[in-house]
């Protein structure tokens, strides 16, 4: 059973089409990266999942059921535009937000105390949010997102505003939540996060999904058969590969970027290379998510 299946989601605003026939499948217990440039429609899509706005067409099912009011309690949402009540004390705030998610007062109090202890911030309980630093407030905000134990957690740019130490802490928590069975949707521009954490991704561009699948599979399709080789003595293009660039490192050592011409496997290429030169290192140039992102978005916008 998938955590979320969106089929033909369309949302139209007066002047433009925010989402155009979006189809997405988010498997359970994965970290799903929702990527896309600004204004692509990510936030609109997330708001539809959170039932803040309604889609004009299409439907969403969540854990096999059609999305309804009652699912509010099983979704945790950390919006990009986030904040807390400044004048409210941390404890009251957490209890209130959890109650709004459907927890009883007793449960809400217990859960928030557990999390406060876990993050070792018990002395903040009676502090007003306005007296906390930005990073501290972000921690409280993260607790409020996950404390009602949602099965689906949506994080919109979760690391903005976090210092590296806190970012590390939150990353740990996210991985732990995944271990426990949660599904996490990440909406972000930060490709290193995607690289590190995400299992599956979808790229939304100009209101459409232009790329979807597991990170590994996507990387495979975007392989360019390019390799970086360090070797002794200069190298020239052969029938098997084409020399893209070459740079002298020291003495007679060179670093070259080569591209396979024929449909060979890396072993065959190494065999070919060892015959003509002395190979010191051989690395396949796998495209980073960032490169894939840029090439797709740029390619689209040139059309």
């Amino acid at each position: 059973m998938d955590a979320l299946v969106a089929s033909r989601i369309t949302k139209r605003y007066t002047n433009h089409l925010a989402l155009d026939q979006i189809n997405l499948t988010i498997p359970q217990q994965t970290i799903f990266g929702l990527l896309g440039p600004n204004g692509a429609g990510k936030t609109t899509f997330i708001r539809i999942i959170n039932q803040i706005i309604n889609a004009d067409e299409g439907q969403i099912s969540i854990f096999g059921e059609r999305l309804q009011q009652k699912h509010i309690g099983s979704i945790g949402y950390l919006p990009e535009e986030r904040g807390l009540y400044k004048k409210l004390k941390v404890g009251d705030q957490l209890i209130y937000l959890a109650q709004l998610k459907g927890l009883s007062r007793k449960e809400a109090t217990e859960k928030s105390k557990t999390w406060i202890r876990k993050f070792q911030i018990t002395d903040w309980w009676y502090k007003k949010v306005e007296d906390l630093s930005k990073g501290m407030a972000q921690k409280v905000q993260f607790i409020s997102t996950v404390m009602h134990e949602p099965r689906l957690i949506i994080l919109d740019e979760p690391f903005s505003g976090f210092d590296p130490v806190n970012a590390q802490l939150i990353t740990q928590e996210i991985l732990e939540l995944k271990q426990k069975g949660c599904t996490i949707i990440f909406s972000t521009h930060r490709m290193e996060t995607v690289e590190d954490l995400c299992d599956d991704i979808a790229l939304i561009h100009k209101s459409k999904v232009i790329l979807e699948g597991s990170k590994k599979k996507i990387k495979n399709t975007f392989r360019t058969n390019t390799y970086t080789v360090e070797h002794k003595g200069p190298l020239n293009s052969t029938a098997v590969f084409e020399l893209v660039s070459q740079r002298n490192l020291e003495d007679t050592f060179y670093r070259s970027v080569i591209k396979m011409k024929q449909d060979l496997n890396p072993n065959q290429l190494i065999r070919e290379l060892t015959e003509i030169t002395e190979v010191h290192s051989f690395i396949e140039q796998v495209p980073s998510m960032s490169e894939i992102f840029i090439s797709l978005v740029k390619g689209e916008s040139h059309e």
Binding site: I52, Y77, L84, Y85, Y96, L97, K101
Partner: protein, 435 residues
């Protein structure tokens, strides 16, 4: 529904736990009577202690007879130039120059002072001179004082309300006027103060960005209604405390100091000197009796109803404005159209509603929901026919259902919009937008 209740609770606690609420609620009913008491006390003391000013006068007409009830007059024998000279060196207050005037055309009176005299003092002097000249004229035209006195008449109309049931009730339009004005002004202030608080709260939620977290848990409509109702409950609590405080305080004060109040003391003294004042005293008692006759229960019920109704009606609009803007400064331009009907009712209160509470404009203003809270409170003391009251209440309920519906449609879009340039066209677009 359960979630609205949570929001109501939260809003209520947020406000009530603030120190400012406690201060406003407890001090306000104390501050106003205390301020009034201090002012009255100061005024009485000043009158009591004020020594009469010395006024020198130079009388060239030989017609002036000094009346010493308000000033001490001292005649200066000699020319006005010499008088001015000596006035400069003197401690006295003023120098009055009375030239030799024609009785038919009295002119040329001059008052020399070292400081600017108050209009009251000028008035006193003018009055005195006018009286004297009038008397001189009476003599000249051969009219006797008794004749003049017999012309003067004093009539007071006693007004009695005849209700449909045929009961007769004494009423005093001055008391009703006062009650109507007080209720109307209070209504205006309360709707504004509480409405502004709703707007403030909405803007705060929007600027602190907490709103998107909240609307992922509750519907925007629930959030808006929770906020409005939470504040309404704060308002009702505040009224309740005020009513209890004021009634207990005033009964304590009246029972304790009632006989020792300065005015009453003065009145007792006067009544010994002048038997006339006895009548006046009776008049005061009558007014007190009339105040006792005003149906306060009926008044309070209506006040609360119109406060709640007016507050809900305007509160929703204030919430909509708050949702559309990013800062209170930006809200100013949208406040204007909201305040216009309130202002019409408010100024109407002073210009025609209290003067003519049963005139057709007054009646219509008290039925139209946007103006009825203030207009009806102005009229209510004078007795409003049941059908008008009923129609007014019904249209007020309809009015706030309507404004809440309109406001909710703007609110749900507005709270999620940041940094957009807002005008009425944009708001209309939001209103038309599908969920």
């Amino acid at each position: 529904m359960n979630k609205i209740w949570l929001i109501v609770q939260r809003e209520f606690l947020n406000r009530v736990q603030k120190k400012s609420f406690l201060i406003a609620t407890i001090l306000l009913p104390l501050i106003f009577p205390a301020l009034m008491a201090i002012l009255v006390y100061v005024a009485v003391e000043q009158k009591k202690n004020a020594s009469k000013d010395v006024v020198y006068y130079v009388d060239e007409s030989n017609k002036f007879m000094a009346d010493t009830s308000k000033f001490i007059f001292k005649e200066f024998e000699g020319s006005i130039a010499a008088a001015k000279q000596s006035f400069q060196e003197d401690q006295s207050y003023a120098l009055l120059h009375i030239p030799d005037f024609e009785l038919s055309n009295p002119r040329g009176f001059t008052l020399y002072t070292k400081v600017n005299p108050s209009p009251n003092e000028i008035g006193d002097l003018e009055g005195m001179l006018e009286n004297q000249i009038r008397e001189l004229k009476l003599v000249k035209f051969n009219i006797r004082q008794e004749v003049l006195d017999s012309i003067k008449t004093d009539i007071t109309i006693r007004t009695i309300n005849v209700s449909e049931a045929g009961d007769e009730k004494t009423s005093d339009s001055k008391v009703l006027f006062g009650i109507g004005m007080a209720c109307g002004i209070m209504m205006y202030i309360f709707i504004f103060v509480y409405g502004a608080q709703i707007m403030q709260g909405v803007i705060e939620e929007k600027t602190s960005k907490v709103v998107e977290v909240i609307v992922s848990s509750v519907r925007p409509f629930q959030l808006m209604m929770g906020k409005i109702m939470g504040l309404a409950s704060v308002g009702l609590l505040q009224f309740l405390i005020w009513i209890i405080l004021i009634t207990t305080l005033s009964s304590v004060v009246l029972g304790f100091f009632g006989l020792d109040m300065p005015q009453q003391q003065m009145m007792n003294e006067m009544s010994q000197e002048y038997p006339d004042a006895q009548l006046q005293n009776q008049g005061t008692m009558e007014v007190l009796g009339l105040i006792g006759e005003v149906p306060f229960g009926y008044l309070i019920f209506n006040f609360l109803f119109y406060f709640l109704g007016g507050y809900l009606l305007y509160g929703a609009l204030f919430a909509a404005v708050g949702s559309a803007v990013d800062s209170p400064a930006e809200a100013q331009q949208f406040m204007f159209p909201i305040t216009i009907p309130m202002l019409i009712a408010y100024f109407g209160l002073f210009t025609f509603i209290l003067d003519d509470p049963h005139g057709s404009i007054s009646v219509w203003l008290s039925i139209i929901p946007f103006t009825s809270p203030i207009a009806m409170m102005g009229r209510i003391g004078f007795g409003v026919p049941a059908w008008q009251l009923f129609l007014s209440m019904l249209s007020l309920i309809g009015g706030f259902v309507f404004t809440t519906w309109v406001a909710a449609r703007i609110y749900r879009v507005g709270i999620l919009m940041h940094g957009t340039k807002i005008n009425y066209k944009v708001m209309a677009k939001w209103f038309m937008m599908k969920g």
